[in-house]
């Protein structure tokens, strides 16, 4: 099915199931520990061998020697995989560095060997007996030092244009009566999902099956085949439960390749989980940025010049962090420029992490907006609304499909008690605490991806949905069941959903907040076909058939749904794809983030007291699971604001704090009760579901809202994330 004109009324609009705050259907499995993750498939493979990954201990250079002899003689060892004995491996399109390094080393903790043994303990012990000699080469590890040598990267679908110019930015800025020119920095971030990358691999003759933890089943199935040099039809990838991803599991990673190679070498199934201390350097991360923002405005707050430049780094052949993207669309202004520059760094591979581009981009832009509002003597909410736009500012012929941005901010201000904020910073005290309120805009584009599904009706009236879509905690199982239940007129109990298997129709997968809207549209398309099949089987006129309460009705004729499958299952398969509808109109999602913090006047420690997000993201398919997506993203954004930073050793080129003790993420004590309000909205330009993505919107802007609240509390502006106490302690107001 092709979506190329705005959605009209369809069965989803009944909202009997869609739009209801239903409990997740996978809840009983997850809360009892019975949902099987990749490393836990005792039900399928009774006696796997265990692999232990060895990571390179240099950032750049060569392996000059490997002595495997002691390890090979160690008890229980079955095989040791290295680049020397693995055969030819081809790098996939989505990876920048090789997943098995050697002799050349491209980054620290690049995998260089897998030791396979009968037990986990034996594999781990033997891995410590492998001796590797390296010749290290100098590398470039410091973004600030490499910034001057950064160049314009090649544009692609992910980056969009590298530089944009509208009007005469330098002149408008020079003439503006109120100006801002500041530089902000964001550090490297680690996804730090709770389940390590893990894979169980089994060969049966030349056919490979991997049970793994991956967000994008079709991508990674293809990449695994490419890497191993085998036909894609010989690879099956199964990923029904994923213990968090946030972008870390978008692509094929070393666990999959090494498990497959280890299983081939050992002649039996092998399972591999990346050890936690390897993950930060072995896998991908969100790259650090340096961002310069220049704003010029009239005294009434109208922006006349807006410029955003971003520098980031990656391995040779990698891409930029697209931190300027939102600045092209979020605010009006006749004279504009954006620019991205990319430095070659020999750090581990940079790549997508939750809301790539917007998350760090808004961390900078929305502090700049706060600073500019203060220069103008305007309220930060009013300043943003003053510069709202209903069209793409770079291409005014393109309207937004829906843009209730001002409503988000106004409602948020009202609900949060924004009028109680003292615009003069550092003035509000609560005992030993300095108290501040901050806000920021949230913005993330709605991305849509072709997505397919198969639906089956059986003689008991059970509807089964099969798609290679994944559920990374987002609620895919539940919203796909809701979609099928609504379309087929059955209860949730009548629907089964089976996900994450490459033998199923190819879906959008989970990433870029495209999963929910795209994958439900795919199930919608398949259900439209199934409805036609059912009507035909029952000799009903399909155009008029109503599917409700387990029945099919046309006029005064009624049949039980399952009668259509009395002599065999009915199966329908289709996918939803998109015409140029997204080019004619800009589809985006919007938020207003409001945060209250308290900063200890003596120690400088920041505690978040309240958080509120107002979100506009089209129809909300399940308000319960959608709210969870938003509070989770707000939590990650709070981490980015206050604590998260991969610390670079600029001499040896690696992330020093590469585990969950050193890389601090928010814990319970850091996060207060969080409020989320969704605007009641539908977007018929998006899909027949009239929904848009919401999984990343919650992180977009929230970090700046925290930083702005800290400034309001202390009067000290920190432009270098994370806003840790050492950056403002020496300038805090005197303790009363």
């Amino acid at each position: 099915m092709k979506f190329d004109s705005p959605a009209t009324t369809n069965p989803i609009d009944r909202l009997k199931v869609i739009g209801q705050p239903l409990d997740r259907i996978d809840g009983p499995l997850k809360t009892t520990g019975t949902a099987p993750y990749a490393y836990e498939r005792h039900d399928i493979v009774a006696d796997p061998a265990y692999g232990h990954v060895i990571g390179a201990t240099i950032a750049k250079g060569r392996i000059t020697g490997m002595d495997l002899s002691a390890a090979e003689r160690a008890p229980g060892v079955l095989a040791i995989v290295t680049a020397q004995n693995a055969g030819t491996l081809t790098k996939g399109n989505y990876n920048t560095a090789h997943l098995l390094g050697g002799p050349d080393i491209q980054h620290y903790h690049q995998a260089v060997a897998l030791v396979v043994a009968e037990s986990f303990e034996q594999a781990r012990a033997a891995a410590h007996l492998v001796r590797i000699d390296y010749k290290a080469e100098p590398g470039s590890f410091d973004l600030h030092a490499a910034k001057g040598a950064a160049t314009a990267p090649e544009p692609n679908d992910l980056t969009g244009p590298i530089d944009t110019h509208v009007g005469d930015f330098p002149r408008a800025l020079a003439q503006a009566p109120v100006r801002l020119d500041e530089t902000y920095t964001t550090p490297d971030h680690s996804h730090a999902m709770m389940e390590p990358h893990a894979t169980l691999a089994r060969w049966e003759d030349d056919e490979l099956t991997v049970w793994t933890s991956n967000q994008m089943v079709a991508w990674s199935t293809g990449e695994l085949a490419t890497t191993l040099g085998i036909p894609p039809e010989k690879v099956r990838l199964i990923s029904p439960y994923i213990g968090g991803g946030f972008g870390a599991k978008l692509f094929l990673r070393a666990d999959v390749v090494l498990a497959a190679l280890g299983a081939r070498a050992a002649g039996r199934p092998v399972k591999v989980a990346l050890q936690r201390p390897l993950i930060a350097n072995n896998t991908t991360h969100r790259p650090a940025t340096i961002q310069r923002i220049r704003l010029g405005a009239e005294r009434d707050g109208t922006i006349t010049a807006i410029g955003h430049e971003s520098w980031s780094g990656d391995l040779d052949g990698g891409g930029p962090e697209t931190a300027v993207g939102q600045t092209r669309l979020l605010y009006g202004g006749a004279n504009r420029m954006t620019s991205m520059r990319l430095a070659v760094l020999d750090l581990p591979e940079g790549n997508a992490m939750r809301a790539p581009g917007e998350a760090p981009g808004l961390m900078a832009l929305e502090i700049a907006m706060d600073e500019m509002a203060e220069k103008l003597g305007m309220d930060p909410v009013e300043f943003r609304i003053r510069n709202d736009t209903q069209v793409d500012p770079e291409h005014p012929e393109r309207p937004f499909s829906a843009r209730p941005f001002a409503q988000c901010l106004r409602l948020g201000a009202e609900r949060f008690g924004w009028d109680r904020r003292n615009a003069r910073p550092g003035q509000t005290r609560d005992g030993r605490w300095l108290v501040g309120l901050g806000m920021a805009a949230g913005f993330r584009n709605n991305l849509l991806m072709k997505s397919g599904a198969r639906v089956r009706l059986d003689s008991r009236g059970i509807v089964t949905v099969e798609t290679d879509m994944t559920d990374i905690g987002t609620g895919s199982y539940t919203i796909l069941a809701q979609t099928a239940a609504e379309m087929m007129g059955v209860s949730m109990e009548q629907v089964r959903v089976v996900l994450g298997d490459s033998s199923f129709p190819v879906s959008a997968g989970s990433g870029g907040q495209w999963g929910a809207a795209s994958s439900t549209a795919g199930v919608y398309a398949a259900c439209v076909k199934l409805r036609e099949e059912v009507a035909r089987k029952l000799s009903f006129n399909s155009a008029d058939a109503e599917f409700v309460d387990g029945e099919v009705r046309v006029g005064n004729r009624t049949a039980r749904l399952q009668e259509a499958a009395a002599d065999g299952d009915l199966v329908a398969e289709d996918s939803m794809e998109y015409g140029d509808i997204t080019e004619k109109m800009q589809q985006s999602t919007f938020a207003g983030h409001f945060v209250e913090v308290a900063v200890d006047s003596a120690t400088g420690e920041t505690r978040i007291r309240r958080m509120l997000a107002i979100c506009a993201a089209g129809r909300i398919l399940n308000p319960k699971s959608a709210r969870s997506q938003v509070i989770g993203a707000m939590t990650m954004g709070a981490g980015a604001a206050l604590m998260e930073e991969l610390v670079v050793d600029t001499r040896r080129g690696f992330f020093v704090n590469h585990d969950l003790a050193g890389y601090e993420v928010p814990v319970h004590a850091d996060i207060p009760h969080q409020d989320v309000i969704f605007l009641d909205e539908t977007d018929p330009m998006s899909t027949p579901m009239k929904a848009k993505g919401v999984g990343e919107l919650g992180i977009c802007g929230v970090g700046a809202a925290v930083a702005n609240a800290v400034y309001n509390a202390t009067g000290v502006r920190v432009r270098d994330y994370p806003v840790t106490l050492d950056k403002h302690l020496d300038r805090l107001p005197d303790v009363a």
Partner: protein, 220 residues
């Protein structure tokens, strides 16, 4: 001083013994194993056959007799030998709390303890609290309040939640308890402090606190 009943060793004795074995590991030929840095000279090291021991303990009310490599953590014994995979391995270093189980009613990180240290202990895992269709009230509250997303930290969060309510009931103070001589309050602040060893990267904290609060208020 705390004594370890099965060995008669004090904690200080145990630490001293540990220090000796570490020292031996850097000079001797037999003791090098876990934790030895990769940079250490590996080619003169010789791996020894693993030491195996029998150990018996009760898991969720059922007696289990195991023959384990002495290096096996309680976590790996549960997951790999007993196939009780509800207890999760998030970090294997006691940093994340995904492996939380209850031993004799006290919550611990099962990755930081060896299976052979639990002779005779009664261990409760997530599988011992409830199962689909017969959920423990805390499991049901997590579902109702959507106190989870990816599900990987969830069993640990739930085991900790159950234990936290018991700790407060038993009058055990926490870092945020204002008055150490009074009964700790069942406040959100107390719950957040006590739950902070269980990381949820999906960020379900706000809902988890709602779930625990809901259970704490319902009649036992």
């Amino acid at each position: 001083m705390q004594r370890f009943p099965e060995t008669g060793l004090s904690r200080r004795d145990l630490l001293a013994a540990g220090a000796v074995s570490v020292a031996a590991g850097t000079t001797g030929r037999s003791a090098r194993a876990e934790g030895a840095p990769l940079a250490a000279s590996a080619n003169d090291a010789v791996a020894v056959e693993p030491t195996r021991m029998k150990v018996g303990f009760t898991v969720n009310g059922t007696v289990k007799e195991l023959d384990v490599d002495t290096r096996t953590t309680l976590l790996d014994a549960l997951r790999e030998q007993l196939h009780l995979t509800g207890t999760k391995k998030g970090c294997d270093h006691g940093q994340c709390g995904a492996c939380t189980v209850m031993v004799e009613g006290v919550r611990i990180n099962s990755c930081l303890t060896l299976a052979v240290m639990h002779e005779g202990d009664a261990i409760t895992t997530i599988e011992g609290l409830g199962r689909p269709g017969e959920l423990h009230p805390m499991q049901a509250a997590f579902v109702k309040h959507d106190g989870y997303q990816c599900g990987y930290c969830t069993p640990g969060q739930i085991c900790s939640s159950v234990a936290v309510l018991a700790e407060i009931e038993a009058g055990i103070p926490s870092h945020v308890t204002e008055d150490l001589t009074a009964r700790p309050q069942l406040s959100a602040e107390e719950l957040r402090e006590r739950m902070s060893g269980n990381i949820c990267r999906c960020g379900a904290y706000s809902n988890i606190i709602d779930a625990i609060t809901d259970v704490s208020r319902s009649p036992a």
